[in-house]
Amino acid sequence: MSSRNLFFLPKKNDWGESFAAARKLAPPLAASRLRELAGYDMDFVQTGQLDRALMKIADAARAAADAAPPVRLALLGSSTLTHLIPGIRVAAYRRGIWVDIYEGDYGLYRYELEQSGETSSQLAQFAPDVVLLAIDAHHAARGTPQEALADLSACWDFAARNLKCAVIQQTLLPVFPPLLGSNEHRQQTSPHYIVERTNQLLRGASALVNVPLLALDSFFQPEGLRAWHDAALWHRAKQEVHPAMTHLYGEHVARLLAAMRGRSFKALVLDLDNTLWGGVIGDDGLEGIVLGQGNAVGESYVAFQQYAKALAQRGIVLAVCSKNDLANALAPFTGHPEMVLRRDDIAVFTANWQDKPANLRAIAEQLNLGLDALVFADDNPFERELVRRELPMVAVPEMPEDPADFIWTIAAAGYFETTDVTEEDRARGAQYQANAAREAAKTTATDMPAYLRSLEMKLIWGPFDRVGLARIVQLINKTNQFNLTTRRYTEPEVERSMQQPAMLTLQLRLTDRFGDNGIISILIGEMNDDATHPTLVMDTWLMSCRVLGRQVEEATLNLLASQAGAMGARAIEGVYLPTKKNGMVREHYARLGFEKIEENADGSSRWRLPLDEFQPRPVVLETVAITEHAQAQGAR
């Protein structure tokens, strides 16, 4: 019995043949036959097949689903949701219900709900019966539980006021590994705890306003529970914990006992190459290592660094032990914009060509810790074996091949279990809570300027560079909505643009007090050849929709105007080229005060902004050149 399938439904051995035959029938007959087939056990591939077959005969299927009126469902969230749609549609069809689904734009749930009072709102035009707020834990756990609740309850209000529809609120999936262990609730800044606490708050608040929850956080528990508890064994032997799990049960008890005796680990010693970033810094250089957005592997390393940083914030000492030249090893810590760990997060930084056991001894000495307080994380099996042989008291986790699994390996081992949160941790937690309360009071749904100010946003800008190249090319080729011209360029083409003196290239990074949003906007402009009317003509202006409504466009215009002026331009010219997906920026230049100078039958338009009397737009963002930002980081 695979718990991934719908084991509670009957099985049909010739499901595939029956399905193939059903698809060939006339639509009304096919619809009723498919409804029958929806009643059997199936996996996600079969569900997708069934859904596509239904959508091909949607009218007939809608008529066959006669148990209840059709449901208009808006699926909104802050992560990919497309893959959830077939499962919803098929499961409803199994129950004789047809569901029309509106999928919100990626990451725009709050914006779409805020705007849903406008007649131009696509969400309002869809007129949902139900909004499903499928919020992901990564998004929700950026701030405090109170902030997450304030954001979501504002969304419920928008839906009630603007759309007059029901809301289903999804609870957060506990995707974050613990930082402490059994007593995680004593570290208020732990993402694991924030998710748990947010779910508790949601349970209280949603009941008051009659918003039903989709308890995603409890769905996975029966599967886990079946491993831990077998009802048959309970009846036969009154064993609550399954015998096959007692070795793990013992592990958790022993971790607590060890912690109470002061025998838990105090320091995490990290290798660098292929542990904190992908590749070898000495060979690949700053631009060649894999780290950061634009690449799934690079994001895995960022996540691992974030986990290490969170451990440091709760008092675990970080050290580095790397076979490298010191200057090479330090370079990413001072010069790579995607590094989460900075030099001053590392208590002892060892990079040389001596063997690692010798270095670990020196690190323990400098930290005034026993070797039995060190955990050593290294991707290289040779180094791990050597350390295990020479220094058996050092804990050496078996690091998995995929960096995406690094965090869970360290977390599952429970090295840093503690029952005792330090005064300092507690003070930090209290401070955090006080801030949260202040912010929550300030952050009402209507007081957007105050909210924006409280975000402490910084727009960090620079010309294109090789370190950012992968992300720049990715944005140029993936951004569909907030993209004025949708011109796609290859990596070599983008590289060439970096060398043209008449070209202005800008990459913009947005940080706020929740953290770094990464590169979120790309601009390319070119000076015309006209000496009497020197003009910067915008080739590309695109932005990630995640940062809409945060004054990034206005701040970017201010920056663009000053840069264009510095290149000798007296005006900026913008172009809008319509596509199926970029309707949201049709009036982009109008909103920024450009004058329309041309409009064509195909919907494209040209816009002009004279710079002589340009007044910078008032914005709450601080705009910082990447060079100044790097200096500030280095000085930290």
Binding site: G16, A20, D43, G48, N295, A296, V297, S300, A404
Partner: protein, 86 residues
């Protein structure tokens, strides 16, 4: 080992392609790429990988998937994983 026989892997993979892309006429060759198959976009690529992992009882690494360029490459990866499983 019979399990890592490329012909068998191609046969099982073909079944997954037929189901995922609703097309029983798909014939896979080592040179087949996403451009050759209608509907093989980034969304269905993830479904393809998840279905393949489930079918063969294996798990791909993120870095291995980033470099995937055709069906022949995917089959070689499956072979390696099955051989490592023993």
């Amino acid at each position: 080992m019979a399990q890592t026989d490329p012909q068998q892997i191609y046969a099982q993979l073909t079944g997954i392609f037929h189901d995922l892309f609703d097309d029983d006429t798909i014939v896979l060759t080592p040179e087949t790429t996403a451009a050759d198959i209608e509907g093989w976009d980034s969304f269905n690529h993830i479904n393809l990988i998840v279905a393949t992992e489930a079918k063969f009882g294996i798990k791909f690494r993120t870095a291995e998937l980033e470099g995937l360029h055709n069906v022949g490459h995917l089959v070689r990866l499956i072979q390696e994983k099955l051989a490592a499983k023993g």
